[in-house]
């Protein structure tokens, strides 16, 4: 069996009377592209926040790259790159300045930073706008810039929380190609998304979370086959129902 990049053991997170994560156990292998799927408020972002060291679990344990997320948070932060759900970029900085800031926060070498900055901006189609303030960017451009900020330091493990939200098909496919390329480079990627075709296209395995519990875990192909349906979206609806959910 491949070496683990991420391990969750009986992870629980409670917010007052709400149990956001309820006993999730999971193992993601090094170099795996893993999809974390679930309706709104299922607990996906909470799991990512725990793995990033932003919040502490109520019980259970989690390791990222063999480091305990509670005890060795600093080590974990050096290992990971996170593209958060919200489009968080500094509006008053240019695209290039945003990237340089985050490169410097990861104490990157000046030359390496410049090389990777230019390469990533090029891949995300932002080279022409690199010297424009981010506040002038469209929603899709900001999302792509946010992805560059997450990956500027070439992290071994990347958490991409709905990275293609609000993107047009062209941008989405550019991001997909880029994620596939990261996979080929041996990076471990945890991807959350509401687009089932995206998960089907990109992920080696997916885990479906609902009400804080892991209710399915397999490759998209096997889930479709076991569910006797034609695509992952049907599997998702079959498992989580048609009731509309809201984030809490």
């Amino acid at each position: 069996m491949n070496e683990s990049a991420i391990e969750l053991a009986q992870l629980v997170k409670k917010f007052e009377d709400v149990t956001a994560v309820n006993g999730v156990s999971l193992r993601v292998a090094k170099g795996e592209l893993f999809g974390l799927l679930g309706p709104n408020g299922a607990g996906k972002t909470t799991i990512i926040n725990i793995l990033c060291g932003l919040i502490k679990p109520s019980s259970g344990s989690a390791t990222v790259g063999d480091y305990d997320v509670q005890k060795e948070t600093a080590k974990v932060k050096e290992l990971i790159g996170v593209c958060p759900q919200e489009t968080a970029v500094y509006p008053y900085l240019t695209g290039a300045e945003n990237v340089e800031l985050f490169g410097n926060l990861h104490t990157m070498n000046k030359n390496t930073l410049k090389t990777r900055r230019d390469m990533l901006l090029e891949k995300m189609g932002l080279t022409q706008d690199a010297k424009r303030k981010a506040e002038k960017y469209s929603g899709g451009m900001k999302r792509r810039l946010s992805l560059v900020l997450a990956l500027i330091h070439d992290p071994q493990i990347a958490f991409l929380d709905e990275p293609t939200v609000a993107m047009d098909p062209q941008s989405r496919h550019a991001v997909w190609d880029f994620i596939k390329e990261l996979g080929k480079q041996g990076k471990t990627i945890i991807l959350t998304t509401h687009y089932m075709e995206e998960a089907e296209e990109l992920c080696d395995r997916v885990g479906i979370i609902d009400h804080g519990k892991l209710i399915a875990l397999d490759s998209p192909k096997d889930l479709i086959s076991k569910g006797k349906v034609t695509n992952l979206e049907e599997v998702f609806i079959k498992l989580t129902g048609r009731k509309i959910r809201e984030d809490v």
């Binding site: 932003l54 050096e78 958060p84 970029v89 800031l101 990861h106």
Partner: protein, 383 residues
């Protein structure tokens, strides 16, 4: 602590300050415009001139005492006299603000003056005369400044040079009415340095709440940046901003005529005091950001700390009541303004007791406020 991270975050904060119009206005343009407006209004060192209407009913013949009084008043260069033939016209102009006072010289004024001259030491033989003065109640300065000037002119024409209990006038000639050599600008300049820095509270509060709202605070926390590195960058940034503010204010007041007779060490010390003071503003900003749920709320809540500092510790508070003066001892801005006033205007040396006390008070209070701000913010919102 990695300097690369601190420098990167400091540069980011500087760019924000100089690129966001609202921040730029609040931190630099507003204080500069304020200094310019105050400077234009109060600089130049000249004594203000008051317009006084005169209704002269004196019927002097051999000795025209009223003319002597009017000449004395004109010689002060403080009063601009307008002669009216009747009281009604003068009162109309007073009500319209054309003049700030109307002085009625009675018909027996010269007679009274003659009686005084005949027997200056025998009040029983004097003919008493009453000069009536109507004042513009809408002008605080007029009501406070004009009566003593006329009182002193009345005293002056008697030829007295000392105070004498038997004479109801102060024995000073009108030319001895104190004319301040420094302009009003000189008096308010120390407080202006403090005034400008106080607005950092609002900027810090808005910056922290804004970054929290748009997810940037969370994003920074995901990087390996430590809380110490982050807070160091913030403190360094705002100290640089405070220094730039102080330099801009100094250039402005210098251009408008502020020329304290002090050396470079005093200037350097004054700038250091302003920098130390900026720590308390970062602290108050963090406390505001802890309380405020949004950047909009932070703007309003910041006034809880801005206004007391403003009214009790800057030039705004020069005319405070005695009670308010006691309360002002509890705000750091008071000690900064007091120290700068002592250094620039009173000629105090850095090692003098007043400066030492002020410096200790500023340093201890500002560091304490900063520490409280950091602890409170870190308790409720992770850094």
């Amino acid at each position: 602590m990695k300097p690369q991270r601190v420098i990167a975050l400091t540069k980011k904060e500087m760019r924000k300050t100089f690129r966001e119009p609202a921040v730029l206005f609040m931190i630099f343009l507003f204080p500069i415009v304020f200094v310019f407006a105050f400077g234009a209004a109060f600089s130049g060192g000249g004594q203000p001139v008051y317009n006084v209407g005169v209704v002269n009913m004196d019927q002097g013949n051999s000795v025209n005492a009223s003319q002597i009084l009017l000449t004395t008043l004109l010689n002060t260069k403080i009063l601009n006299l307008h002669i009216y033939v009747d009281n009604q016209t003068a009162q109309n102009d007073l009500s319209q603000g054309t003049v700030q006072a109307v002085m009625i010289i009675p018909s027996d004024f010269s007679q009274s003056f003659t009686s005084y001259q005949a027997a200056p030491n025998d009040p029983n033989t004097w003919t008493n005369a009453t000069v009536t003065l109507y004042l513009d109640k809408g002008s605080l300065i007029a009501t406070q400044a004009i009566p003593p000037i006329i009182q002193q002119a009345l005293t002056a024409i008697t030829g007295q040079t000392q105070q004498a209990p038997s004479i109801p006038f102060r024995l000073e000639t009108a030319s001895l009415v104190e004319v301040k050599t420094p302009s009003a600008l000189d008096f308010i300049t120390p407080g202006m340095f403090t005034f400008a820095s106080i607005f950092l509270i609002m900027m810090v509060a808005q910056s922290f709440t804004g970054d929290r709202e748009n997810g940037m605070m969370k994003r920074i926390r995901i990087t390996p940046t430590s809380p110490t590195e982050f807070m160091t960058s913030q403190v360094v940034s705002y100290m640089i901003i405070a220094l730039v503010q102080a330099i801009l204010i100094f250039v402005m007041v210098y251009l408008m005529g502020f020329r304290p007779n002090v050396g470079i060490p005093i200037y350097a010390f004054a700038f250091i005091l302003v920098l130390v003071f900026s720590l308390s503003n970062v602290g108050f900003g963090l406390i505001t950001a802890t309380i405020a749920k949004s950047s909009g709320a932070a703007t309003g809540l910041a006034f809880l700390f801005v206004l007391p500092q403003l009214f009790l510790g800057t030039f705004v508070g020069t005319t405070l009541s005695s009670g308010a003066q006691v309360v002002s001892r509890f705000v750091p801005s008071y000690y900064v303004t007091d120290a700068l006033t002592s250094l620039f205007l009173r000629g105090a040396v850095i090692t003098s007791p007043t400066i030492l006390v002020d410096t200790i008070a500023v340093s201890l209070s500002c560091i304490a406020i900063l520490v409280v701000g950091i602890i409170l913010y870190a308790k409720y919102y992770k850094i």
